[in-house]
């Protein structure tokens, strides 16, 4: 591999609380990490500080940094906290309320008082103008240009709109009116950010497309100002390399594109974790993986198959109730398909009205945090249960401070236990059982919707709390293997180092398969491919390397749920029909277990994912390097730290050997019960499991279900 002299990349993940940094120097195979408090009023301040710190620590100069890759929760939080711009909407006359009426559904039919998410663009700043395109893409009523100009003036001058969204009916099929309207508005307000629904979500479905355009407009000024500032600050620092941003779908994009379509970056933070997991899965030769990322507030699951995370094209932003589907703003945008469960280290254990034990979704967060943090948290959490049950070691947790709070942890559980009529130990063990079951139930449901069986998967655990609960979750799902990468506590940031530049695009053209106009389809793809190539050219010179993957959303005519099916390579024509039917049927049977031989097939959307593969650093040496530098100064430390009692959900109390995980050499193999401790996290296994360290320093845990069956009977009660 030939690499330029400057082959150093920095990944930066701006989270709500912390900004994480990872710097990889490919030439010397060195990695440095840093963590700073996020500076919400000006996030680029923490970024610049962090980069300075990394440069100091590594002895590198800013001009040696070739790439900076960046992801942020800023955009999602803008929607959640409703701190975006004043947006005006210009839409088709007669349809100004599409945005507010939404799907006309109560997201929780069991709650008479449930409220939908409030609209981002209130009614008085939504204006309809005369124009109309029909479903077959023809112009029925020409665009009333004076009405567009008048609407824009009313919105901007009259109501102080800082950004506009333009969304006309059927613009996915014919965007000419939206484009002309944009020209007209630009003639008045050349600097005003304008989002077209046909640009951000060219799919059928006026509500979701309009919503996507409005959310884009809502975050655009905030994102634009932030990225301009960051660019300027980086330039002032002397940075001359490329700055890219991570998309919600896990690919990288340019600064200009990020400013134009910021709605595509909503989930850039969580995406990085899945991208890192996908890379490690591929490296370890694991073809089917459930990525399990558990932090302080939530657990996130995504599926990785063949080294690629599943991507979906629908996402809900700004939920009123974070864990209730339907309570947010539905968008059409490509995101890594991830479920989020209210199960984290800070999830609170409490008794419900039946005096049954419940865990989460309420969380103590990082402030006040679990009781054990000693920052005023009084209600027992999952992390507190981890301590009482021996999953976490009080002596290694939060330095020595913990001795002060451990009695309080026990007290908190005693109080809860009294309300439940059990003892404190049972309440703590039960907390772990229930949080595990909550995660298992959601995972089962997610896999079932895709027609997948967890027993065919490997569970890859990361995030601070992931490895701690991985073994119990695996057993509940009957997953045979768990993989815990090295440095699992800070894995997410590594995703920025291994992501490829990518473009996700789509065109809405609904047709039955037999009646498809293939010339039109080829035209759609030519359009998308040249657009993608133009964007990718700005991110890497070697356009010959660009890979285009075409797929189509298909269903039986009459059904409401589509399956995305990969299209065959080569020119698309009538001759593809049989092959497409075959591929659809295979996927359909995999999901639903049956086919409908009489069914007519319909295609609704045509998709293109284009990427530009770039050389990836090896994260193996990187991960170990962060602890002891590039070479371990003490090559043969004793990996055994001692023994302690640990209570494993579903197994019972075991006397486990405690290992210093970084000290375990590749090839070592340990039979449970055992605990593997590292800096940010720990991982325990029962007597039915064997752990080995693979060549990449991953902890590979194989569970022997035959053993579990014979040995654990009666152990639980």
């Amino acid at each position: 591999m030939t690499e330029a002299a400057s082959s150093c990349t920095i990944g930066i993940d701006v989270g709500g609380t912390f900004t994480d940094f990872v710097m990889h120097d490919a030439e010397h195979a060195r990695t440095h990490t840093a963590k700073l408090l996020t500076t919400p009023e000006d996030p680029s301040r923490a970024i610049i500080d962090g980069i300075r710190r990394l440069l100091e620590a590594s002895g590198m100069r800013i001009d040696q940094i070739a790439r900076i890759v960046h992801g942020t929760t800023l955009i999602t939080n803008t929607v959640l906290e409703r701190t975006g711009a004043k947006v005006g909407l210009i839409t088709t006359e007669g349809f100004r309320d599409v945005l507010e009426m939404g799907r006309e559904i109560r997201h929780d039919a069991a709650d008479l008082y449930a409220r939908p998410a409030p609209v981002l663009v209130p009614r008085h700043v939504r204006i309809g103008v005369p124009e109309r395109i029909t479903a077959d893409a023809n112009e029925l009523i020409p665009l009333n240009e004076p009405a567009v100009l008048k609407a824009a003036q009313e919105l901007v001058d009259g109501h102080g709109a800082q950004a506009l969204a333009i969304a006309f009916l059927h613009s996915y099929a014919n965007p000419s009116h939206e484009r002309r309207a944009r020209e007209l508005v630009r003639s008045l307000y050349p600097e005003l950010p304008i989002s077209l629904s046909a640009d951000v979500a060219p799919e059928i479905g006026e509500y979701e497309r309009t919503n996507t355009a409005c959310v884009n407009a809502y975050v655009q000024p905030v994102v634009g100002a932030y990225l301009d500032r960051l660019e300027k600050d980086l330039a002032a620092l002397g940075f001359t390399g490329t700055l890219s941003l991570m998309l919600s779908s896990g690919g990288l994009t340019t600064l200009a594109q990020a400013k134009a379509v910021p709605v595509a970056l909503l989930e850039s933070g969580p995406a990085a974790g899945a991208v890192a997991a996908a890379h490690l899965a591929e490296q370890a030769g694991e073809d089917r993986v459930i990525a399990f990322d558990m932090g302080g507030t939530t657990a996130k699951m995504s599926l990785i198959e063949g080294g690629l995370p599943h991507v979906t094209h629908e996402f809900e932003a700004g939920r009123v109730d974070r864990f209730k589907p339907g309570s947010g703003l539905p968008l059409k945008t490509a995101v890594i398909d991830m479920i989020e469960i209210g199960a984290g280290g800070g999830s609170i254990a409490a008794a419900d009205e039946f005096a049954l034990l419940k865990v989460g979704p309420r969380s103590a967060g990082s402030v006040p945090g679990p009781v054990a943090y000693g920052r005023g948290g009084a209600r027992p959490t999952v992390t507190d249960a981890d301590l009482l049950t021996g999953h976490l070691d009080p002596d290694h947790f939060l330095g020595g401070e913990l001795t002060l709070t451990l009695p309080q942890v026990r007290e908190a559980f005693e109080e809860l236990a009294a309300r439940l009529g059990i003892d404190a130990g049972r309440a703590a063990a039960g907390t772990l059982q229930i949080v595990t079951e909550n995660m298992a139930a959601a995972t089962r449901m997610h896999l079932s919707e895709k027609g997948r069986d967890p027993r065919a998967y490997t569970l890859m655990a990361f995030g601070g709390a992931g490895p701690v609960h991985a073994y119990a979750l695996a057993r509940s799902l009957k997953v045979p293997r768990v993989m815990v990468p090295m440095g699992a506590g800070v894995l997410s940031a590594f995703g920025f180092l291994v992501a490829d530049p990518a473009v996700e695009d789509v065109r809405g053209y609904a047709t039955t398969l037999p009646a498809a106009d293939w010339a039109r389809v080829r035209e759609l793809y030519q359009d998308m491919e040249s657009h993608a190539a133009a964007l990718l050219r700005r991110m890497g010179p070697d356009t010959a390397q660009i890979r285009h993957a075409r797929s189509a959303d298909m269903r039986y005519l009459g059904q409401g749920f589509e399956i995305t099916v990969a299209l065959p390579d080569g020119p698309l024509s009538d001759s593809c029909v049989e092959e497409l039917r075959r591929r659809f049927t295979a996927d359909y049977v995999a999901v639903f277990g049956r086919e409908l031989p009489e069914g007519t097939l319909e295609v609704t959307n045509w998709r293109l994912t284009s990427s530009l593969p770039t050389p990836r650093p090896s994260l193996v040496r990187s991960a170990s390097a962060q602890h002891g530098g590039d070479a371990n100064p003490n090559p043969t430390p004793n990996p055994v730290r001692g023994r302690r009692a640990i209570q494993l959900p579903g197994v019972g109390v075991c006397e486990a050997t405690v290992y210093d995980r970084p000290a375990l050499e590749p090839g070592s193999s340990v039979r449970g019960p055992a605990v593997f401790e590292e800096h940010e996290t720990s991982c325990a296994i029962g007597p039915d499991a064997t752990a080995t360290i693979d060549a990449h320093h991953n902890l590979i845990i194989d569970i022997d279900y035959a053993y579990a069956h014979s040995a654990s009977e009666g152990a639980e009660t």
Partner: protein, 560 residues
């Protein structure tokens, strides 16, 4: 209903602590949720998909539900339990076999009209019958002549008494052939039945996995426990309501010359609630009759919403609630009454119950909803190529206001049917929608304003006339307010030439012409004069009201 024992089972007696019980109960609930998701995704019928017109339940060996899907129509879940109890009388436990599937659409024992097909299948574990999976779903066609004019049931479609669709895992091809020959969309109808079967398979497989994981032979002990706990919770919630006999009466358009009258008596007596409809209209020779099953479902649902906010429900949740209506009344008609449009009557019951309880539970009830009952609009005809099309417009009226919030605009209640995309509708039918917007001034004025209805204007873009079937109510009887709140606007439809088709009618939309359908608003809550002035100003700015008259004209005393 088996009302035998009401004494609560103590969970200590069966040695399950609050951790194990919570895990088992939540796994039960997850089973029906997963099964419901399977049904929804695999279904063909837009009615299942857009209207959520389905349910999935898991039952013990007595046919008592232990878990009910949260998605779908919550009101239907309990009906599948009583259906199964009834089936067990004619098909006793010992004559069920692995792989059996029984279906029926008998409106008196299932969910109230022929398009809803109920399905029950046994679950065996280690050779023993341990329970049943059950479901109901609205298929896109069931034959017959689906109009209001049928004067007896059999004109409304194919009547399926409880029969085996599968025996021992073998499909009865004769039943399938008969079914397919009698419906207009055999592929879709069969596809929906397959979706139900897929959901049943999920129930079966997951239940067996659960029993194996917890090492129990059957569901009896667990179901006993959850029934007792749910029963106790319902009773505790009822006990908090002051005892008394609470009454209301309401009127609806009904059918030509026969307005529907509902008399509702809610008796709260200690830990029990009894709802009785004596004094309501007699049954009619039109499809608005509502079988006692449907009456029960749409009485229990609004009550359950007042009693809790979505705790896991099961057979035990309903033991303390009884519903009755005199035989031969519109709420308990006798065979062979036509029942196709039973929702036009059944959806009224939430209004009657909330009006009855308005004085005793003023903080909890909501005012009448414009969409109780829902207004359905169907367009049918032939497109330019001569191919037939039929498109249902799913659109909602305004919901009633409650003590601390305005009613939701364009939101269905008591059903939860959503709205589809206009773009998608236009892509499948020669229709052009000129307008689909909130209907200003339609929300009932009040301290809390009723939700707004909507105006939908549709033009015939083709060259042939299009048949417009309207099926609704509230053209003469608005959604009433509560506690001094005023009624919402009436529903109506108007052709461009000024003619106004009744809301229960079939008419023709000529080429190039348009019809505007105006959906009703929800009732207001509390005197309009007490409304926060800033809220009035905001409504005016947004154009939700065009005048503040309703809020200015009264001083808060003359409005009730």
């Amino acid at each position: 209903m088996s009302e035998a024992t009401t004494d609560a089972v103590n969970r200590d007696a069966v040695n399950l602590d609050p951790v194990d019980l919570e895990i088992r109960w939540s796994r039960l609930a997850a089973i029906t949720d997963e099964a419901a998701a399977t049904l929804l995704r695999a279904a063909f019928s837009t009615i299942i998909r857009e209207s959520n017109d389905y349910t999935v339940v898991l039952m013990n060996s007595a046919g008592h539900t232990v878990a009910e899907s949260r998605a779908g129509i919550p009101a239907f879940a309990a009906l599948i339990g009583t259906l199964t109890e009834r089936l067990l009388k004619t098909i006793p436990a010992e004559s069920w076999h692995e792989g059996d599937i029984v279906i029926t659409n008998d409106p008196w024992i299932a969910t109230g009209h022929l398009p809803d097909i109920a399905m029950v299948s046994p679950i065996f574990h280690r050779g023993t019958l341990i329970g049943f999976a059950g479901s109901a779903a609205h298929v896109p066609d069931i034959g017959g002549t689906p109009t209001l004019d049928a004067t007896e049931l059999l004109a409304e479609g194919l009547f399926i008494p409880p029969i085996h669709l599968y025996r021992d895992g073998v499909r009865d091809e004769a039943v399938v052939a008969l079914l397919r020959a009698n419906v207009r969309l055999p592929v879709q109808v069969w596809g929906d039945l397959e979706a139900q079967m897929a959901a049943h398979e999920v129930c079966r497989r997951r239940t067996i996995e659960l029993l194996e994981d917890i090492g129990e032979p059957d569901l009896e002990e667990l179901s006993h426990l959850v029934h007792a706990m749910s029963d106790r919770a319902t009773r505790a919630a009822i006990a908090a309501i002051p005892n008394g006999v609470y009454r209301s009466s309401l009127d609806a358009d009904g059918v030509e010359g026969q307005p529907t009258h509902i008399e509702c008596t809610v008796t709260v007596d200690g830990e029990r609630i009894a709802v009785d409809y004596s004094g309501s209209s007699p049954q009619v020779a039109h499809a608005t009759n509502c079988t006692l099953n449907y009456t029960t479902a749409y009485s229990v649902y609004p009550l359950k919403l007042l009693l809790d906010r979505g705790t896991r429900s099961n057979h035990g949740s309903y033991r303390a609630i009884t519903v009755s209506a005199p035989e031969g009344s519109i709420l308990n008609p006798v065979f062979p009454a036509p029942v196709l449009a039973r929702h036009l009557t059944g959806h009224l019951l939430c209004c009657a119950i909330y009006q009855a309880l308005a004085d005793v539970l003023p903080e909890r009830v909501i005012a009448d909803s414009g969409g109780a009952p829902a207004l359905r609009v169907q367009f049918a005809g032939r497109d330019e190529l001569g191919a037939p099309f039929a498109a249902i417009l799913f659109a909602s009226a305004g919901m009633g206001a409650c003590a601390d919030a305005d009613g939701l605009s364009t939101t269905a209640f008591p059903t939860n049917s959503g709205s589809g995309s206009i773009e998608a509708l236009e892509a499948t039918a020669p229709l052009l929608f000129r307008r689909k917007e909130l209907r200003p001034d339609s929300g009932g004025p009040g301290t809390r304003r009723g939700g707004l209805g909507q105006d939908v204007e549709v033009c015939n873009l083709g060259t042939r006339p299009i048949r417009v079937a309207l099926l609704g109510d509230r053209s003469q009887h608005p959604a009433l307010g509560i506690a001094g709140g005023l009624p919402g606007a009436l529903a109506h439809a108007r052709y461009e030439d000024g003619t106004t088709p009744p809301l229960k009618s079939v008419s023709a939309l000529a080429r190039g012409s348009a019809i505007t359908i105006s959906f009703a608003g929800g009732g207001g809550y509390g005197p309009p004069a007490d409304r926060d002035r800033a809220a009035v100003a905001a409504d005016l700015l947004a154009g939700l009201i065009t005048t503040t008259d309703a809020y200015d004209a009264h001083d808060g005393t003359g409005t009730a």
